[in-house]
């Protein structure tokens, strides 16, 4: 701790430590150089490098698939390098600037518009049109995020979505019927109220309030369900300052401010532990959290709808992409072949069964497959079928991170009771319009 932390910038670091850092960097880059060097020479152009951030079961399953590919494709060498997913874009940017990008990188879908600007990103539009790929087998939410202005820049790597995970025991204790597939947001609010008990510090639901994209996409699902849109169809103006925007924000505000039935989590980390400790009745979250709830009997239900709107039980999905970088025609070909194999139905099925991750292809999610998935992770198949409720993607524009920030501030200020939904919507819309105008 203390002096030896991230906070140190080169300006503040004493020379001795800077030297140590430098030596460490040299050591690492020497290793990296060895790695890429041997990769490039052994077997010539048939060697590719892939940057991925899998850990645990995912890492094991991925390593197995890579080994299988190498065994069935003699002469091809796929070397994978672990990179924390949160930092892959930074690292890829640096590698692109240095003229030595990986052949394939796992990149968050929310980065897609910015990734499309990177030099060296291979356009896959014609590749995915091949009949053998069966591109339409990928969920529409995935395809949307892999496509920027009509140009396909990636192949789906992982998909998730938001649904409601609820604690069955707490519902029973409150004598409440379990949520059904036709439920509505007013029902959710009423349930949350009845599940709240300040005396034993029990909350009906929770919401993440760091103001980041995690705050924002939860609200966007509500906005869509209420029949609203984030931007207009040409992505030139904010469209969320609407009746739907108001309905969705008011719903959240009722729970956070009026009923105090919502635990607000600014750290984006506490809510899962609390749910697992039986302190929270319902959570809007994704399949990744399920394995963190071994101590409670939970159920999963699709998102509620807003009565009187045409939004239905829409949800939002956050797919990530495999992106191919240009290191010469033959390496691009090797990389494309590998990524298409990796995302073919057989491999998708294997990966999902081993990891509990949702299958990225529609055809894989058969009844038998869903039962197998549920055996390992109860009710995860609800998330799989819920992918059918993903009807749209977030705006695929480079300024989205800035727009997200403006919306995040709006949501947090309403939930903390610092502003009313109406003025907050208007202020955020004005800010977003300014951002959109600035970007031309």
């Amino acid at each position: 701790m203390g002096t030896y932390r991230l906070r140190q910038s080169p300006f503040g670091a004493p020379p001795a430590r800077r030297l140590l850092c430098a030596l460490a960097v040299i050591g690492v880059s020497a290793l990296a150089a060895c790695g890429s060097g041997s990769g490039a020479t052994s077997g010539g152009s048939k060697s590719i490098q892939i940057w991925e951030g899998w850990t645990g079961a995912e890492a094991k399953a991925f390593a197995h698939l890579v080994a299988e590919y190498q065994a069935t494709h003699p002469g091809v060498k796929v070397s994978s390098l672990f990179v924390n997913n949160d930092y892959t874009l930074q690292k890829v940017q640096t590698a692109v600037a240095g003229g030595n990008p990986p052949d394939i990188a796992y990149l968050y879908g929310s980065w897609a518009p910015n990734v499309a600007k990177l030099s060296g990103v291979v356009t896959l539009t014609n590749v995915v049109k091949r009949p053998s790929v069966n591109w339409n087998d990928f969920w529409v939410g995935e395809r949307d995020v892999a496509t920027v202005n009509g140009r396909v820049i990636g192949v789906p790597a992982l998909v998730d979505n938001l649904a409601v995970v609820y604690n069955k025991a707490l519902f029973a204790k409150a004598h409440l019927p379990l949520p059904g597939p036709n439920w509505t947001w007013p029902q959710f609010v009423a349930d949350a109220r009845k599940l709240t008990n300040p005396a034993i510090k029990q909350f009906g639901t929770a919401y993440v309030t760091p103001g980041s994209e995690d705050t924002v996409w939860h609200w966007e699902a509500l906005l869509w369900a209420a029949g609203g849109q984030i931007l207009n169809s040409s992505n030139t103006k904010a469209a969320f300052d609407s009746r739907a925007g108001l309905a969705s924000l008011n719903t959240l505000r009722t729970m956070a401010v009026t009923d105090h039935s919502m635990y607000l989590d600014p750290t984006d980390s506490a809510y899962a532990n609390l749910f697992n400790s039986g302190k929270i009745g319902m959570l809007v979250t994704g399949p990744w959290d399920l394995s963190g709830f071994p101590n409670v009997h939970y159920g999963v239900q699709i998102m509620p709808s807003f009565p009187g709107t045409n939004g239905g039980h829409q949800t939002i999905s956050g797919p990530d992409n495999w992106v191919v970088f240009n290191n010469g025609a033959s390496r691009v070909k090797t990389a494309e072949d590998f990524i298409l194999w990796l995302t073919a139905p057989a491999q998708v099925k294997y990966f999902s069964l081993k990891t509990g991750d949702l299958p990225i292809r529609q055809s894989v999610g058969t009844t038998g497959f869903n039962a197998q998935m549920d055996a390992a992770l109860p009710d995860v198949s609800t998330f799989t079928t819920n992918l059918g409720n993903v009807r749209q993607a977030r705006p695929q524009i480079a300024t989205y991170p800035q727009i997200s920030q403006a919306i995040g501030t709006m949501v947090v200020s309403v939930l903390l009771g610092k502003s009313q939904p109406g003025p907050a919507l208007a202020a955020a819309a004005a800010k977003v319009n300014q951002i959109l105008a600035g970007s031309g």
Binding site: R5, L6, R7, F11, P14, A22, K279
Partner: protein
């Protein structure tokens, strides 16, 4: 450490500086020793610093190849960016509380530990342990301590009939929680520095004061504190530089929120470069603004500090 080396240099200038052949060999040997380090520091320390200065005059976004030179436009934008002035305000408030806070806590603990009692090794280890704990663990612990609903701090408040606080959920309180968190984290460092300085205080001076009839407080104020002044100056400079570069605790606990209440300069820089805009040019300009602020503040500290600092020859 840099500071104390620099301050002592004047005392070493009297050492013989051998000339002639032997001198040349020695100086060559010296160069042989420092050249690898110089090259490495130049490559990985100085070059990025210079490069970021160049970047600060461009609109580089790290994505597209090629960026345009836009002169001082980034620096002009800084002056009109409301978030920058807010970030400066947060940084200054944080520094103004963190630096004296850490020094006082460190001094108090060091004085308390500068005696011969049983299990002293344990207390000293415990105090220094805050340095050995990683920031992420520290942040996680404090997140739970200060959790509005489940935290022990609000529990204690309820026992004392103090109203419940929102802490990290409150734009008015979050920064102060981070101040407390970091004072805890850094106090071990201040303890070590002060403890070392306390043990360097000659006992004959303390005894002489006692013979002259000085009480404990008088001795502490007239003898101990002045003799600790070099350590205090070092701590003030070192802690200030680190405070102005606050980042990890913010990143790990509040992400600059709620509603930007804990967005300090380095966090804003990070956001500009890697989170929202990929605006490397603008982020570099913020980095240089911070660099200049640190340079000026440190210079003032040394200048003012010299007046209050007492060095024994």
């Amino acid at each position: 450490m840099t500071a104390s080396v620099a301050l002592r240099r004047s005392g070493r200038q009297g050492l013989s500086n051998p000339r002639g052949r032997r001198g040349r060999v020695e100086s060559l040997t010296g160069w042989a020793f420092v050249t690898p380090a110089t090259v490495i520091i130049g490559l990985f320390g100085a070059a990025p610093i210079i490069w970021s200065l160049v970047l600060s005059f461009t609109n580089d976004n790290g994505l597209t190849s090629g960026s345009a030179f836009i002169g001082v436009r980034n620096y002009k934008a800084l002056a009109h960016d409301p978030v920058v002035s807010q970030a400066i305000e947060h940084t200054v408030v944080y520094t103004a509380l963190f630096v004296p806070g850490t020094m006082l806590v460190g001094l108090f603990l060091a004085v308390a530990m500068n005696r011969k009692i049983r299990f002293m090794w344990f207390y000293r280890t415990a105090a220094y342990a805050t340095m050995a704990i990683s920031t992420i663990s520290e942040a996680l612990v404090f997140i739970w301590l200060f959790d509005p609903s489940f935290g022990i701090v609000n529990y204690i408040f309820s026992l004392l009939h103090i109203p419940q606080q929102a802490f990290l959920n409150s734009p008015g309180e979050a920064l102060y929680v981070i101040v407390v968190m970091t004072i805890w984290g850094w106090s071990g460092f201040a303890v070590v520095i002060y403890l070392a300085a306390l043990q360097g205080i000659p006992q004959d001076l303390v005894e002489a004061a006692a013979i002259d009839g000085a009480g404990r407080w008088e001795t502490f104020r007239r003898i101990t504190l002045p003799l600790l002044s070099p350590a205090s100056l070092f701590l003030a400079v070192w802690l200030t530089i680190n405070a102005l570069q606050l980042f990890d605790e913010v990143y790990l606990s509040t992400r600059g929120g709620p509603l930007g209440a804990t967005t300090v300069l380095v966090y804003y820089l990070f956001e500009q470069a890697f989170q929202t805009n990929f605006n490397f040019g603008y982020a570099s300009a913020i980095a240089y603004l911070l660099f200049i602020v640190i340079l000026v503040v440190t210079a003032i500290q040394f200048r003012v500090g010299r007046r209050f600092t007492y060095y024994r020859s």
